[in-house]
């Protein structure tokens, strides 16, 4: 069973190449508001997480997610 911290750690590493503004990442960092991900980049980033953990992340959870911490929490809940 993958725990919350493991999801969080992978999200940080997956964001490295997309974090062009070199924002300091924390659980409160906003994916679109702070890092400035475009809609296409969000999709690429979600695919990376899906492939790494062999899970599917439904698109309909995304409107409730704005920060890194919220995303890790949602994915963790999906796969409990």
């Amino acid at each position: 069973m993958v725990d919350y911290q493991e999801y969080l750690a992978f999200i940080y590493s997956a964001l490295e190449s997309l974090n062009k503004k070199k924002v300091v990442l924390s659980e409160d960092t906003e994916l679109v508001g702070d890092i400035g991900l475009s809609s296409l980049e969000v999709m690429e980033f979600i695919e990376k997480i899906e492939d790494h953990f062999d899970i599917s992340i439904p698109l309909n959870i995304l409107p409730d997610v704005s920060t890194i911490g919220e995303l890790a929490k949602k994915i963790h809940q999906l796969n409990l």
Binding site: S38, S39, L40, M43, E47, D54, I55, S56, I57, P58, L59, N60
Partner: protein, 402 residues
């Protein structure tokens, strides 16, 4: 602020204005034929229209539209569920069902409404939809409204689809898979044989959007599922009347009798006025023509091959195989816009496509071929690209390295 989110669009429009080009919503001042018009003051060959069989300007379709307007008036002024079901709508549904060899059909006022409406209604909360990542906006809008869990699979990748169905466990048997026949922007054909095999393995449902493949693929023009020999695996086909049939409107056909109940649950069908009688009449005539004149499809493919081979021989990076939609991808956005204008100046109108309509961050020059193009017109389009290349407007980024 309410308007802050539109700033990026405002900036992009300002950039276009600075270059003095207006590629989006370019106004056609006159239509001269199915393949020629005057657009923004330029007499151009229309090579960005989706008018695959050239029927928008067919004399027989025009005559039927005129006759229907005389007999039935200009509009129905109501929903299909109220006062807007005329004889023609019923006949059109019977004829489109017969064309597809199934018993059930719904006609919608636009293709967007058909696709969006079906995707929003078929699955609901608790259900799962698996859609191709490069699906059309009407599919994305529909599934968003459905309340179902929405899972994307990698574009035209049956293995990724299978992997995601496996992850669903017992829910896979109730899942709705959504794919298209020909993808509208790059013109690639979906691997429907393989997708249908995955669908059979998991016992899911399959909806195929044949908007760009109806009239284009298949022995009798029914689309990509017919061409792949998997029509019996497809639960729902949606499509449009606004491309190969040259009018406007959309449809869903299905072998499932439940479609007759579903009809009464689709907001995009109920809460909008039905198609005008003239539109219904020209659509019916066009459907009759594509059924009885397969030579239109032969001509379309001859023209598509001619343009594809011509652009390829210039060294341009085109898709892996010929298709009535042939797109050239550009990483340099400003250059794409300049080339679009360059083609206009050389008498050729094509579509300029930008994200999110293009499937990546690249811009596209999208060419669509018609059966009504003459070989000379196709050669003029190729010559326009050759001239762009000679003048240095197209550079090695758009050439194939090979």
């Amino acid at each position: 602020m309410l308007f802050d989110k539109f700033q990026a669009m405002a900036d992009f429009r300002a950039e276009l204005a600075e270059q003095d080009v207006a590629p989006f919503g370019a106004v056609t001042e006159k239509i001269l034929s199915a393949t020629e018009g005057i657009v923004q003051g330029h007499k151009v060959i229309l090579a960005g229209t989706n008018n695959y069989l050239g029927l928008s300007y067919d004399a027989r379709c025009i005559a039927k539209a005129q006759e229907a307007a005389q007999l039935w008036g200009t509009g129905t002024t109501g929903s299909r569920l109220a006062n807007g079901s005329f004889e023609g709508h019923q006949a059109l549904e019977d004829e489109i069902a017969a064309f597809y060899g199934v018993n059930h059909a719904i006609a919608f006022s636009t293709g967007y409404a058909a696709t969006m409406g079906m995707c929003a209604t078929l699955a609901g909360p608790g259900d799962v939809i698996l859609l191709d990542a490069d699906s059309h906006s009407s599919i994305y809008s529909g599934v968003k409204l459905s309340g179902a869990d929405i899972i994307r699979f990698k574009h035209s990748n049956p293995d990724d689809l299978a992997k995601r169905l496996r992850r669903l466990g017992d829910r896979a048997g109730q899942a709705l898979i959504i794919a298209e026949g020909i993808y509208s922007m790059l013109g690639d054909v979906a691997p429907l044989q393989e997708i249908a095999a995955v669908k059979r393995e998991y016992g899911s449902y399959l909806l195929v959007d044949e908007a760009h493949s109806m009239g284009v693929l298949g022995d009798s023009g029914r689309g990509a599922a017919q061409a792949a020999g998997v029509e019996s695996d497809v639960d729902f086909i949606v499509g449009t009347f606004s491309k190969s049939l040259g009018s406007v409107g959309g449809f869903c056909v299905s072998p499932h009798a439940e479609l007759e109940h579903i009809r009464f649950c689709i907001n995009a069908y109920i809460f909008t006025a039905s198609s005008s009688p003239s539109v219904v009449a020209s659509t019916r005539e066009a459907l009759r023509i594509i059924s009885s004149e397969p030579e239109l499809r032969t001509q379309l493919w001859q023209n598509s091959n001619r343009l594809y081979d011509g652009l390829k021989s210039l060294g341009l990076k085109v898709g892996p195989s010929a298709s009535p939609v042939i797109a050239i991808e550009f990483e340099d956005h400003a250059k794409t816009i300049a080339c679009w204008q360059g083609l206009m100046d050389r008498g050729v109108y094509v579509n300029l496509v930008v994200p999110p309509a293009s499937p990546s961050s690249n811009f596209l020059l999208r060419n669509s071929v018609s059966a009504a193009h003459t070989p000379q017109q196709i050669d003029t389009i190729i010559a326009a690209y050759a001239s762009l290349k000679d003048s240095g407007m197209l550079t090695s980024a758009e050439y194939d390295a090979a």
